[in-house]
Symmetry: C2
Subunit: 452 residues, 2 copies
């Protein structure tokens, strides 16, 4: 759990007293000035019964706002407070947060809640849940503000004033025709500055940037970041407007993506449970699978070395350089993979650019290999236990770095061609591929150069 | 460069024709409907002289908007178009984008531009540049909207209507007293819904969440994501309001942070040049330094192995497991480091929690070590070339995984204590630390168990 704001922690004793006295009105007064996210922090820090009393003391709208900020504790609260009372709260939630929650809940809990919800909200949830996960359709809100092209600015403002309480944002306003097709966009800032008699169609920006319900959520995030959009309109296959994605969804997507990529690249199965709430066994489960797979893959390296047992017995100094060579290969491969993944993520590189990437990385790999190879050769030459193998390790380093660099650069492109997340091409996977092949290169060069 | 929107690429031939005919009015008409980000895309795709003609055809305000979206091409354009013409454009830019640009420009270019800018904008730039990089002060905009507590809603709306053209956002409005101290916040949505006679002080949310000019930009991003804020007010040491950070800045910070962390964890020096624009030599420079440092560090592993040359000569099968053991150590350490770094980034874990982390990871490390150790022992027992060393490698795996797990978990906490970015505790660094120590553990156990 996050640390509380100072203001929030200052209010905690007063709040606890009010809750102990079962004084709901006093408790409500204490939290009145607080942002829903701060009240959610308080709920998490309170004892179970205190938390329930506080939650019950809030009015329905406020309960929904607080609930939206509870994150991984939402499920907990539903269990404790019971589906009857929670169904009303969930009715009041914003459309996208509600759909997200229903998607995350275990099926049994979802099935107990759905029949208790109002018809309109239930239909909205079902419609949103029909979209595939991680698409624009699955994160969009259906509470957006629209106006018609023939309205005047004054009419539009009056219309927005009536709609505002039930809309996630009225700052970006979408212009739709009779078929609900998206024909323009206008900002509230422009409406406020415009003359009241002006028609919307003369003010709006035509051909607005939009995404479809199937667009990947990371693509939506990139588009919104490019245009600095507060909200992006989402359209269906017939170009009818069906929802919006707002800036706060993008905050979540960008943070989630960051975390998932970091976990993927460290061979950890991503989870949504925080470190503090995850028990040792949960952490083991997230980690042991990948470690075992990588261990089995590493057995291949053992087999390669064992095939050159004779060469090793003849020149035991060859063993000294096994860690140096495989580390250098792994590091080089991770570097080029990371640069290519980043290029693909920013839309800078595409599958069709593979030949350009290959030739650039061929050159880069040669220069890096030459630099590292020379360094290793020099060190091997002045370090007496290794003098005999210095030319072998220097030469191996050049070939290995070049090879690892190409593997690292090509792997994200290949994964993307196979429709897998290129971010999987991370340090552990590259190390595994480069280790065994690198050792094969090493011992083959040794056998030839040293004639063993 | 990013791929263009379909609409944008459809307009390209028409635009090129207009530019070829030097028909500025026609060119202006073509791009009229486009978002500044799209015009920036076009500029990048045009020939040098065409781009200059198009840029000159735009009015000053539009030039500034387009220029803000040019990213790494900004410096290029300044060079080609000359400081005289650019100074006017830079005057028109939004306050935070302008400060960012001036910070990024080489000193010589900045010094040639500053004297050409208007006095007010020049002072604004100097004030913003005085803040340390990556703090709220360095990314904030000074163009925010304020009202006074005793104003009525009607007066406030009228005031905002006058201020709107020069404000980055009027959707979140800050309430300041005579000392310019921040006393409240109100959204435009609330103002529009409120009765016109109501006083701002009766409507505003008091004690608004804020940050100081010194707050780290990533902390600002976390706060805004937590509260779903469109903008966060920034105050100075006397709690006077001095700026705002807006949601679009957070998009940039989150993307930048993601990229920097990915590059750090792959031992690449972060850069702002895209893969396409980076030549092979630039890529080599970003990578060769870290590779050399890591290579020198890996020499330590060679030294450790060479000290056990006698043991290796006696039992050459010990060499078969060097890659398996060091890979497992590196993978385990990266896993625990990543989980602890993530916990610290979300505010879930703090330095003072080190003992709790240590005891949890001690348990996790023991379980993981036991699982991997057993697996390796079994494989060693059935694989005939390795049978003699199976107990040694099994036992080593348990100790090594436990050790690597603790190193990985503690390193981010130690780095943070030293006021270094915990994200530096990445795969290459952990591998380097765990390699040499792990080999020392391995050969020591071998010497004792096999009595060699």
């Amino acid at each position: 759990m996050q640390p509380m704001r100072q203001l929030t922690s200052l209010l905690l004793p007063e709040l606890k007293q009010a809750l102990k006295d079962s004084n709901e009105a006093a408790a409500r007064d204490v939290v009145e000035v607080l942002h829903p996210a701060d009240i959610a922090d308080l709920l998490i820090h309170l004892e179970d019964d205190e938390a329930l009393t506080l939650f019950r003391a809030l009015d329905l709208r406020r309960r929904a706002e607080v609930f939206e900020h509870l994150g991984e504790y939402q499920e907990d609260l539903i269990e404790r407070i019971g589906p009857q009372l929670m169904a009303g709260v969930i009715n009041e939630m914003s459309s996208d947060d509600r759909a997200w929650l229903m998607r995350e809940l275990p099926e049994a809990v979802r099935n107990s809640l759905l029949p208790l919800m109002a018809q309109a909200e239930r239909d909205d949830v079902k419609r949103l849940l029909a979209h595939e996960e991680d698409t624009a359709g699955s994160i969009m809100s259906t509470e957006y503000a629209t106006v018609q092209p023939q309205m005047t600015v004054a009419q539009a403002l009056e219309h927005l004033r009536r709609e505002a309480p039930n809309r996630e944002t009225i700052y970006t306003v979408y212009v739709v025709d009779e078929q609900r097709q998206l024909v323009g966009v206008v900002s509230l800032q422009e409406l406020i500055l415009a003359s009241p008699q002006k028609r919307i169609e003369d003010l709006m920006l035509r051909e607005p940037v939009s995404a479809t319900v199937e667009t990947d959520q990371e693509e939506v995030a990139r588009t919104m970041a490019k245009y600095d959009f507060l909200a992006l309109p989402i359209v269906d296959a017939e170009k009818r407007m069906v929802g919006i994605v707002t800036y706060d969804d993008i905050f979540d997507i960008l943070q989630e993506e960051h975390q998932e990529d970091a976990e993927l690249s460290a061979a950890v199965v991503p989870t949504e449970i925080s470190y503090n709430n995850a028990g040792a066994l949960h952490l083991v489960r997230k980690r042991v699978g990948w470690l075992m797979v990588l261990l089995v893959a590493a057995f291949l390296s053992s087999t390669v070395i064992s095939r050159f047992e004779g060469a090793l017995e003849a020149v035991v100094a060859l063993a000294f350089f096994i860690p140096v060579l495989i580390d250098a290969g792994g590091n080089t491969g991770s570097q080029s993979a990371t640069l290519v993944i980043r290029g693909m993520a920013t839309g800078d590189l595409h599958l069709r650019d593979w030949l350009r990437v290959l030739s650039k990385e061929l050159l880069v790999g040669l220069i890096l290999g030459a630099a590292l190879g020379l360094m290793l050769f020099l060190w091997g030459s002045i370090w007496s236990p290794a003098r005999t193998v210095a030319p072998v390790v220097g030469l191996t380093m050049i070939v290995l770095v070049l090879w690892a660099n190409l593997v690292g650069a090509m792997m994200p492109l290949v994964l993307s061609k196979l429709r897998l997340d290129p971010a999987v091409a991370s340090a552990p996977l590259i190390t595994t591929v480069v280790d065994a092949t690198g050792l094969l290169i090493y011992f083959s060069i040794a056998v030839i150069v040293l004639d063993i």
